[in-house]
Symmetry: C2
Subunit: 203 residues, 2 copies
C-alpha cells in the first residue's frame, strides 16, 4: 500500500502539491472528502465538524507534548466522537488503496501503515503572495494581517497535532521529506516528488 | 551554474549522499579538499585549520543569532585569516563549475550563487548505527556515549553556522529540501535526489 501524507503550512501550496502528486501517480486523493464523510458518519453538520477538528478541538487545553489520543478526558463527548469518527474514516480510506491525504494529522493517525510523510513549507512572503493569488477577497488585508492569519491557522494545526503526537508539528524529525515551495513551480515539483515517492515505495 | 550544498547531522550519511549525488550527476564534489586548500592557502597546518573551522572557531562566544561574518572583532586574527581563506577557496571552487559541497557552511557562504540547499538528518538510533558501521574503533562507546558525541559535534556545527547566518542550522527554513535518511538506502536516495536536482536547476 502506498500512502502519502502531506502536512503543510497554510499558504505553502501543499494542498495543490498533494493533489498533483496523486494525479501524477494516478492514485486517490483525499482532503475535504474526509470532513464530509466524518459529518455523515457522526451525524453532525459539516461546518461544525470542521470547526471542531480544525479550530475548536483543543482550544482551551494548553499545548504540551507527550499527550496521547487516549487522553481525551478533557475533551467533550461530542469532540471525542468526531475525533474517533475521523480516525475511522481516514483508516478506512487508506485501507482501500494507494492514496495521498492532505492534512488531518493523517501522518500520525496512519502511522501503522507506514506512510511516506511529507511536510510542505515556504517563506512568509511567498505564502502571503500565494494566498492573495488564490483568494482575491483577502485583498483588503495588509501583509501584516495576512501573516497574522497564516500564523494563527498554523498554530491551530500545531495544537491539534500535539494531541495525537509527541513530535512537534512541522519539526523535520516527524517527516521523511520537508519541501520548501518558495519560488517554486508546484506543478514541476509535483512531478519530481511523484518520482521520489515511486522510488521510495519500491525500496 | 549548478551548485548543491549538503548540510547534515553527524551520522546521517550526508557525506556519502552528497558524494553519490555528485557521481550521479557527473559533477565535482568537495569536502575534505577544502580543508587542505585552506591549509595550503593560509600556511597553517591542516589539522589546525580543521580544529579552528570545525571546533575552535567560536567556542567561547555565546551563540546568538543575527551576527554577521563582518562581526569578527571577538575572534583572533589567526581565525579571521583562516575563515576568510575558507570563504575565498569555496567561492573559487564553486566558480569553476557545477559541484556538490558538503558542510563548511557553503549554503550561507555561496548564497549569492543561489545553490540548491539540502539538509540531511536522521533519528538518533539510525545515526548511532551508521557511526558504528563506519568506525569499528568506536565500538567501546555505549549508545549513550555515542549519542552524546553526535550531539556535541552537531552543536559545534550549529555554533559555527550561527556566525555566518541568522537562520538556525538545521531549521528547515534555511534549506530547499530536508531529507530524513532513517531506514533509507543512501545509494537509491542519491539517484532520486540527483533527479530532483536536475529538475530543480532546469526550472
Amino acid at each position: 500500500m502506498r500512502i502519502i501524507t502531506v502536512s503543510r503550512e497554510f499558504g505553502s501550496g501543499g494542498r495543490e502539491l498533494g493533489k498533483r502528486i496523486a494525479d501524477n501517480m494516478g492514485i486517490a486523493y483525499f482532503d475535504r472528502e474526509i470532513i464530509s464523510a466524518v459529518a455523515e458518519g457522526s451525524q453532525f453538520d459539516e461546518s461544525y465538524v470542521e470547526a471542531v477538528l480544525d479550530r475548536g478541538m483543543f482550544r482551551d487545553i494548553p499545548v504540551t507534548f507527550g499527550r496521547s489520543i487516549a487522553n481525551m478526558s478533557n475533551v467533550s463527548h461530542t469532540t471525542q466522537k468526531i475525533v474517533a469518527e475521523q480516525h475511522r474514516i481516514i483508516t478506512e480510506m487508506a485501507s482501500h488503496g494507494d492514496c495521498v491525504i492532505v492534512g488531518r494529522n493523517a501522518d500520525v493517525l496512519l502511522r501503522d501503515m507506514q506512510p511516506l510523510k511529507l511536510f510542505v513549507y515556504a517563506d512568509m512572503q511567498s505564502k502571503i503572495n500565494r494566498c492573495r493569488s488564490r483568494a482575491p477577497e483577502g485583498e483588503d488585508l495588509t501583509d501584516k494581517e495576512m501573516a497574522k492569519m497564516i500564523k494563527r491557522i498554523d498554530k491551530a494545526r500545531a495544537r491539534t497535532h500535539a494531541f495525537f503526537s509527541e513530535v512537534r508539528w512541522g519539526a523535520k524529525e516527524g517527516y521523511h521529506l520537508c519541501v520548501n515551495t518558495t519560488d517554486t513551480d508546484i506543478k514541476a515539483l509535483a512531478g519530481i516528488l511523484a518520482d521520489y515517492a515511486e522510488h521510495w515505495f519500491s525500496k
